[in-house]
Subunit: 223 residues, 2 copies
DNA sequence: GTGTGTTTTAAACATACGTTTAAAGCAAAA
DNA sequence: TTTTGCTTTAAACGTATGTTTAAAACACAC
């Protein structure tokens, strides 16, 4: 085991297995055998499986949120104070994901997939951890989005942010997509940037769609 | 146990627990104790946990897809052959969900949440089962959507359908939302129809957004 | 080289899971 | 009443999980 790179080997293996199979479906024995370390190493270095999960996310999210903050700084410090567009704000997100120092070529895919799982699998401890740890960046993103969509009612804005989150997290967490991506890792690059590029116009258009008119006619066309 | 309503009691309990906690996180012992039946009853009546999961879906999806088929029939049989809109097609989906005979007032929420889980949790057997069982309705929906968005390239249409699915399934499967919905079950009705009503303009706008222009300028604004 | 604090190891622990078994219970037919 | 077929029951099975233990191995300062 050379010198103690045990911690990193565990994090690498866990990250990949979690992304492939989810949290509950990945056992510590799978992780440690893939990492080539002893079973007890996880509890020795991380304390528990739950805090291993949190560590996997922290390793991703801390540099990502730092990059995102500076991306937001740039956007807001531009000459003239014209309004930011939804596209620009969403672009900052994917831009940060791409710019962020990558551990390997399909790092972004795994990152997105894990984010999707985080919201999808009901891991109470993870949700609390993420909300506590990255509250700042998230609320900054929210207020930027609020300024970019002044015409939306708060309740519609709330729901549409949920919709965006859903489209993104779900798409990224679809295991088939991941399989395809990993399968094409022989190609020049992962198509994840392309998915993001296709996603942004969809989200931006949805975000800025006219609000539902509450007339009888519109009502009837909707139920 | 009156007469043998054991099967239904198991299905009811399983459906609710699966929606709350996911498949892997719900044990047969939780299900049978909630249903008030013996542990062995599941394996006796359903054979295995996996086929119990499939039965839960079949009980939902079979009447739903029947309703949806007839809704599609109505749409297509309208006088004059003007083009269907995306809103109308999506409306048929939510319309079917609402019209479908409900077992209880928050049946739709649970139904949507389960659908989200089905795509999200990597249950290979479930995917196969759903694809085999409901292939027809799904491909009919796809071809309707294709006729409603002739300007889209096939690859963009494919991804945008994924995005729609994601926004819907994710929103409906957000456990917080479910908790709120169940919490307000004392109120007049579940707000799920309202969510659907807010969702449709978002999805329709996203679906019909102009495709990404592959010019250097647009490229730069996106990465 | 000895001693010390950290890391790794193999083994066991307690618990939970899905599934199976064999006996008991039960309703309707003979 | 006895028999028959289906259903329910309590108990056990085998396996897998996360976690803990105590000894061994190791690296490094003295």
């Amino acid at each position: 085991m050379a010198q103690s790179d045990t911690v990193d080997r565990i994090l690498d293996a866990a990250e990949e297995l979690f992304a492939e199979r989810g949290f509950a479906e990945t056992s510590l024995r799978m992780i440690t055998s893939k990492a080539g370390v002893n079973l007890a190493a996880v509890n020795y270095h991380f304390g528990s499986k739950n805090s291993l999960i949190q560590s996997v996310f922290a390793r991703f999210l801390t540099p990502f949120s730092a990059t995102l903050e500076s991306e937001f700084d740039e956007l807001e410090a531009r000459p003239g104070d014209r309004q930011l567009t939804v596209e620009e704000i969403l672009g900052a997100l994917t831009g940060s994901a791409v710019r962020m120092p990558q551990r390997n070529e399909w790092g972004i895919s795994i990152f997105m997939r894990l984010l999707g799982l985080a919201y999808t699998q009901s891991q109470g401890h993870l949700r609390e951890f993420l909300e506590d740890e990255y509250r700042e960046v998230f609320s900054r993103f929210m207020s930027l989005l609020k300024r970019a969509t002044p015409e939306l009612s708060p309740v519609d804005r709330y729901w549409r942010i949920q919709f965006m989150l859903g489209a993104t997290a779900f798409t990224m967490s679809s295991s088939d997509a991941l399989r395809d991506i990993l399968q094409t890792k022989t190609g020049v690059e992962t198509p994840i940037q392309e998915i993001a590029a296709r996603l942004i116009p969809f989200l931006a258009a949805g975000m800025q769609a006219p609000e539902l008119m509450r007339t009888p006619r519109a009502e009837a066309s909707v139920i």
